[in-house]
């Protein structure tokens, strides 16, 4: 439903988005994951025509966003929950949205109820809203016309755990009705909780994409022993290559093979499990750690 093909956008010498291609399917929640400054927001602004790409195309349901008449009716967009006039009340923000889309005022009350903003809260000005409340207001705007596509930039940012749980339920049932959801986040566990599909972006480039199941698939084994050196030796003997991972070892082999090798050498194991999701997590950590600031921190510590 949402389709990006070879989208590239540079600012001066800096390439914010570099040859990005992916699709977000109807009936699924697609998580757009990457560290801050990886190009998520730029990609999303390109999808809704606020930024023009240097190359490539972005379409929603086969149309360029700008060609969709009264686009709010079809595509619910939340790009920045804080981009609201601080002097407007929450209710008024929604009323203006409803008026622009040509929807009755009654829709405002329905949306307030949907996102759990009370009557009193809705009459307060947005300047007095917490980030979580602004997110709820933004989600209310996005859902206003019951569109079939949602594009949400960091919607869980500022929500408390209960709020994230609520949003997960909301987006799940929306996707079950056949809606298309693309949501971005810089937190792996957020996306893990909510998304069916994942697109990983780092430094403007897509580094991994697939279903959550694929990406979080068991990849090898994590093992920890009473005496690490004895374990390393036992594994080497059995022809299993292993790398240090935390206070244990990681291998590409199955847990049963690792267990067998340890048993044969009489090594006492403290932990033996499939290295679930570690591949994605390590990839993500690597992306984040590539950030220069992390290097500086590590330099200062060593």
């Amino acid at each position: 439903m949402i389709k990006l093909e070879g989208v590239t956008k540079s600012y001066g010498g800096f390439t914010a988005v570099d040859d990005v291609s992916f699709t977000a399917q109807p009936g699924r929640v697609t998580g757009f994951l990457g560290p801050n400054g990886a190009g998520k927001s730029t990609s999303m602004r390109i999808m809704v025509g606020l930024t023009h790409p240097d190359r490539g195309s972005a379409t929603i349901g086969g149309h360029k966003y700008v060609d969709i008449p009264n686009p709010g009716r079809h595509v619910g967009v939340l790009l920045d929950a804080s981009a609201q006039h601080a002097g407007r009340t929450g209710r008024e923000v929604l009323a203006v949205t409803a008026l622009t889309m040509g929807l009755p005022d009654s829709r405002v009350d329905e949306m307030l109820e949907l996102v759990g903003l009370t009557e009193t809260e809705s009459k307060r000005r947005v300047r007095n809203y917490s980030l979580g409340m602004r997110q709820r207001l933004g989600i209310a705007s996005a859902f206003m016309a019951d569109p079939s596509v949602l594009i949400l930039d960091e919607p869980a940012n500022g929500l408390d755990p209960a709020g994230i749980h609520w949003m997960r339920g909301l987006l799940r049932s929306y996707a079950e009705r056949g809606g298309t959801v693309l949501l971005s986040s810089h937190l792996l566990h957020e996306v893990e909780m909510i998304a069916d599909d994942m697109v990983l972006i780092g430094r403007g480039r897509i580094v991994a994409q697939g279903t959550k199941a694929e990406l979080l698939q068991t990849q090898g084994t994590f093992v920890r022993a009473e005496h690490p050196q004895k374990l390393a030796a036992a594994l080497a003997e059995a022809g299993i290559t292993a790398a240090a991972s935390g206070d244990g070892l990681r291998t590409e082999s199955e847990p049963v093979e690792v267990g067998r090798a340890a048993a044969a050498a009489g090594v006492v194991l403290a932990e033996l499990r499939p290295a679930e999701g570690a591949g994605l997590e390590e990839l993500f950590l690597q992306l984040t750690a590539d950030d220069a600031r992390e290097d500086i921190n590590q330099g200062a510590l060593s």
Binding site: M1, Q25, P26, G27, R45, V48, G49, L50, T51, H52, I60, G61, G62, H63, Y65, V66, D67, I68, P69, N70, P71, G72, R73, H74, V77, L79, D80, S82, A83, Q84, H85, A86, G87, R88, E92, A95, V96, T97, L99, T100, M101, G102, E110, L114, R125, S141, F143, D146, S148, V149, R177, G178, G179
Partner: protein
């Protein structure tokens, strides 16, 4: 929440969706002018200050036994309105950027020129509203003055003068709008507007008195100066030409530059 399900296919059927009509965009922009505290108080201030000027005029007029007519009231009211309406024009454009609502506005209507057109239409409507309010207040003031001072109220304001009053307010609002479009910053646009309407005329006056050719050329590029004959409805053919050229320099060209900028600017 309606529990509709969406078509499972990969394309979006947009054939049944009409584009947002212009009239609705104008209604949205009008609403946005008064639904914030800043906007509402600016509108209230325009009405209140104009009424206050009127009351002071009646009081002074009665105390000094002046000869005040409907015309006098209209003239004095155009001063506070001339100062405050342009600020309204500025804010209608710049608040979108200062408060970052442009992100939402231009997402809901990706054809930005339509939003700008709606804002312009809104300015014309507000200028009309201001003139109607001004006429009503002037009417009240004139009746009140006659009642206080004893004697019959003097009316006799030609239609051309009312039109001139309207044009003055409209040009003021549009000038503010233009400055807002060019600078996209409330404070900078207001400062520029006040320099333009209070400092520049003084400089031009000084130039006109000291340099011969400047004196002759002034009506063509001093837009404030060119508007003066509008106030007393003494516009001649040449005055209209002055107004047109001044308008080209101060309204049309900057508006085109500002429009180009707003249409292309990346909204963040």
């Amino acid at each position: 929440m309606t529990a509709t399900t969406f078509a499972p296919d990969d394309t979006l059927d947009i054939s049944q969706t009409p584009r947002t009509p212009m009239s609705r965009l104008v209604r949205v922009e009008l609403r946005k002018m008064w639904d914030t505290r800043a906007g509402l108080w600016l509108l209230i201030a325009i009405g209140a200050i104009t009424a206050l000027v009127l009351l002071i005029q009646i009081w002074v007029g009665a105390a000094q036994d002046l000869h005040l007519t409907f015309h006098s009231f209209l003239t004095s009211m155009s001063i506070p309105m001339g100062i405050l309406l342009p600020v309204l024009g500025i804010m209608s454009v710049t608040s979108e950027w200062g408060q970052r609502t442009a992100l939402v506005t231009f997402t809901l209507e990706p054809h930005r020129s339509r939003t700008i057109m709606a804002k312009l239409a809104c300015s014309v409507l507000l200028a009309t509203g201001a003139v109607v309010l001004g006429l009503l207040l002037g009417l009240l003031g004139n009746l009140l003055f006659a009642a206080v001072n004893g004697g019959a109220p003097v009316w006799g304001v030609p239609v051309t003068e009312v039109l001139g009053f309207f044009l003055l307010q409209l040009l003021g609002l549009l000038t503010g709008f233009t400055f807002g479009m060019v600078l996209i910053n409330t404070a900078a646009a207001i400062v520029l507007y006040f320099v333009y309407s209070f400092v520049l005329p003084g400089l031009f006056e000084w130039g006109a008195q000291t340099i011969g050719w400047f004196h002759d050329a002034r009506p063509w590029f001093d837009f404030n100066f060119a508007q003066a004959p509008l106030a007393d409805a003494s516009m001649t053919g040449k005055d209209w030409a002055h107004l047109a050229v001044g308008g080209l320099i101060w309204l049309v060209v900057p508006l085109a530059v500002g429009l180009r900028r707003v249409l292309r600017a990346e909204v963040k």
